[in-house]
């Protein structure tokens, strides 16, 4: 059986994918507009890519490969502006956020493409319920072994990224009590969660071959892990973040992940082991449910503290690496999130003020446009 080759890529490069919501301006419900939008954006030249996603109410933007936070942010802003301009002509609103607050999944229409239809057939209602919107961050790795080291070392920081990005407190018309309800929709997939504890690319290939040989999977796309290797890009892909309400925050989160990666790869501060995963699902739940107020348990160190304290502690050790990567500005934004609250908190405040979920969605649309 063919083995997966891990493409070489420049270490610590990064790229971002963002799934965005398409809503109508009347009642702010999700609307079917992806094909119409793509027809028009396809005729314009812009950096990065604008791509279809599984349903017609969703669109994905992705950046090229970047080494610095500044140019990444500039590219995201350019793509956003192209998209907003086109959407204005079609009277479609574009919003960030991890889930639409009140859409009903039965109303979604699957994109007319073979892969999408196949996924829909296999997963049934899950495919439509999967109308949730995430940010994916790619981090470049020199080789497969490095990628697996980084994957296991980074997994300790998934709760941090979940809590910082959480932007899906409302789902199907109710307050879920979670800061990120989106990840609950991801859990429903059979191959979600964490990657197995294999440390070398050879060992990973053995695992992959066994899974494929047994007929459990066909390709890497069948894994819905929180972090997964992306051998054809030569990256690891962090998939736990909700799409934030602004591309500015998305860029800051990517730069935070990049800076974490540099620290982890250079200083190798944590010993990676299966045991490090002991508290993984507990911490992840805490982050989804309580956001930055959630509790974080370090099973090996035997310590417990709030995720806000955890993030602040990480920012302290990252300072020197941030200087190297010119990501100090991004880390200041991360510190501001810890101080001022994540997007889920902002959304709850808006809803408390107006009492209207459609109104909340429209404020999300305006916030993506304003960028603040």
């Amino acid at each position: 059986m063919e083995r997966l080759a891990f493409s070489r890529s420049a270490p610590l490069t990064m790229g971002v994918e963002l799934e965005l919501q398409l809503v109508n301006s009347r009642d702010c419900d999700l609307t079917r507009a992806a094909s119409d939008l793509l027809t028009l954006t396809g005729k314009q030249s812009h950096p990065g890519e604008i791509k279809p996603e599984i349903t017609e109410s969703m669109i994905e933007i992705s950046t090229g490969i970047h080494t610095r936070h500044g140019p990444l942010l500039a590219e995201l802003q350019t793509i956003r502006d192209v998209l907003l301009q086109t959407a204005a002509r079609l009277n479609v609103g574009i919003a960030g956020g991890g889930a639409h607050p009140f859409q009903h999944w039965s109303e979604r229409r699957i994109m007319d493409a073979p892969r999408m239809r196949q996924v829909s057939q296999l997963y049934g209602y899950l495919a439509k319920q999967f109308t949730v919107f995430g940010q994916h961050v790619h981090i470049g790795c020199a080789d497969g072994d490095d990628a697996l080291y980084l994957l296991h070392a980074m997994s300790r920081y998934m709760p941090h990224l979940i809590a910082l990005s959480a932007a899906s407190p409302y789902y199907q018309g109710v307050d879920t009590a979670f800061d990120s309800s989106r990840l609950n929709a991801v859990f429903a997939f059979p191959l979600s969660g964490r990657a197995p504890f294999v440390q070398t690319w050879d060992a990973f290939n053995d695992f992959f071959a066994r899974m494929r040989g047994a007929g459990i999977i066909e390709s890497m796309k069948d894994f819905y892990w929180d972090i997964r290797p992306k051998p054809e890009f030569g990256t690891i892909e962090v998939r736990v973040c909700d799409t934030p309400l602004t591309v500015e925050r998305a860029a800051a989160l990517a730069a935070y992940a990049q800076t974490l990666a540099r620290w982890l790869l250079i200083e190798r501060p944590h010993r990676i082991s299966e045991d490090a995963y002991l508290a993984y699902t507990y911490n992840r739940f805490q982050a989804c449910r309580f956001g930055l107020e959630g509790e974080f348990i370090d099973a090996e160190a035997g310590s417990r503290r709030s995720l806000a304290e955890e993030v602040n502690a990480s920012l302290a050790v990252l300072a020197v690496h941030a200087r190297e990567l010119e990501s100090e500005g991004a880390l200041r934004e991360i510190a501001a999130i810890v101080q001022g609250g994540n997007d889920a908190r902002w959304m709850r405040e808006q809803y408390a003020g107006s009492g209207s979920l459609p109104d909340l969605v429209w404020r999300q649309v305006e916030r993506l446009r304003a960028g603040k």
Binding site: R26, R32, A33, S35, D36, N91, E107, D112, S356, P358
Partner: protein, 402 residues
């Protein structure tokens, strides 16, 4: 004395049958049958039952019964126009001025084409102009019902709703201007010729704004309870229909404007975007059935050619207008052709405008009615078929229920 006195006496029972309820029942069944077995729009079934039971075919519903339902019909049309107005986003025209251009062009070209062919057929200029003005409007009830029934979303759908709202406004204004010209010819009174259309337009808009402001004031007191909002709005729509009639304003303009104004003025989104649900559904069924019942297919004998030509010219004019500005307004040509097809329906609003015209100027009556009613009769079947075809082919309808 009859020992079985408690049994009903069935002689003469026909006179007391609840015809409205029976028509509703038959229409609902026909609608479902048409949808399930023929995969055609439900509203065709509703119309077919109306036409069948009406005075011109079986005669089970006589003119008196139909006239008794007129107030209900006005309310139904009011509800449709209000909802259409409320679905239309005026801000879109600002963000995409080419869409406004499309709307003006498709209406103007359709008007010119219809006028030209009717003149070529030898119709008197006034009749040709009046018929062409009435033909500008795309049936709001048909488009809205289809969009809701098919749960359609997308550019063809949104533009269809926008264009039918706008061309209904143009049609009302064009007919108003035409009528005041007629007034000038007959009364030699310049003042009325100028003031009447102005009163029609600005009076209707003022009434619409007043109703919208009052509604939002009430909603602020009511809060966001959906059912309370619903009853409140239904009552106010009925009041607006009455007010438009009492003040001799345009009902179509007032109700469309009412819906649009609510949307513009509602900055706090107090107004939970609501559809009229089941009650609205009953009104719509009656609207389609009674509209069809009132069409005398006999006019086709004299008007079929003129009506058919009018329909063809109208489709061509609208298509040309939509195509010309499609690239500029951001619509691919494939979707533009589907949008042009979807603009075909012509129904209740056309009959209302016809009624208004012939009431004021009976001398236009027979020849104008023959043309317009023939066109409506042809499009009663063709219009919904083409519009549904367009929405389905555009890929904008919800997936069929399994």
């Amino acid at each position: 004395m009859n020992e079985l006195f408690f049994l009903p006496d069935l002689r003469g029972i026909g006179a007391t049958l609840p015809w409205t309820a029976l028509m509703l029942l038959a229409a609902v069944l026909a609608g479902e049958a048409v949808q399930r077995w023929l995969r055609l729009p439900r509203l065709l079934g509703w119309s077919a039952v109306g036409a069948l039971l009406g005075p011109h075919v079986l005669g089970l519903l006589d003119r008196g019964a139909l006239d008794a339902m007129l107030p209900l019909l006005d309310l139904a049309l009011g509800v449709v126009l209000f909802e259409l107005g409320q679905r239309v986003d005026p801000g879109w025209l600002r963000r995409n001025p080419w869409l406004l251009g499309t709307s003006v062009l498709e209406s103007a070209l359709a008007f010119a084409a219809m006028c030209a062919v009717l003149l070529a057929l030898g119709a008197p200029p006034l009749v040709a102009a009046a018929a062409a003005a009435i033909g500008i409007s795309t049936a709001p009830a048909v488009t809205l019902t289809l969009v809701r029934d098919l749960r359609a979303q997308g550019q063809v759908t949104e533009r269809l709703l926008m264009l039918s709202a706008l061309n209904t406004v143009y049609a009302v204004v064009a007919v108003g201007v035409l009528l005041s010209w007629l007034a000038r010819e007959h009364a030699h009174d310049w003042q009325a010729a100028v003031l009447h259309p102005l009163y029609l337009i600005f009076g209707s808009l003022a009434a619409a704004t007043a109703f919208a402001a009052a509604t939002l004031g009430l909603l602020r007191l009511l809060g966001r309870r959906h059912d309370a909002q619903f009853f409140c709005i239904l009552a106010l729509v009925a009041a607006a229909v009455w007010a438009a009639d009492a003040l001799k304003l345009s009902m179509a303009l007032t109700l469309l404007g009412y819906g649009v104004a609510i949307r513009i003025l509602d900055r706090e989104r107090l107004f939970v975007a609501l559809s009229f649900g089941r009650v609205g559904g009953i009104l719509l069924i009656l609207l389609f059935a009674v509209t069809a019942a009132r069409i005398d297919l006999g006019v086709l004998a004299t008007g079929a050619v003129a009506g058919g030509v009018l329909v063809a010219a109208r489709v061509a004019g609208k298509a040309l207008g939509v195509f010309a500005l499609a690239p500029a307004s951001g619509l691919p040509l494939r979707k533009a052709s589907l949008l042009a097809l979807a603009l075909t329906p012509m129904s209740a609003v056309a009959l209302v405008l016809l009624h208004d015209t012939t009431r004021l100027y009976p001398q236009l009556g027979p020849s104008l009615a023959a043309i317009v009613i023939s066109a409506v009769a042809i499009l009663e079947l063709l219009g919904p078929l083409l519009a549904q075809f367009a929405l389905v082919r555009a890929g904008e309808t919800a997936e069929p229920e399994a």
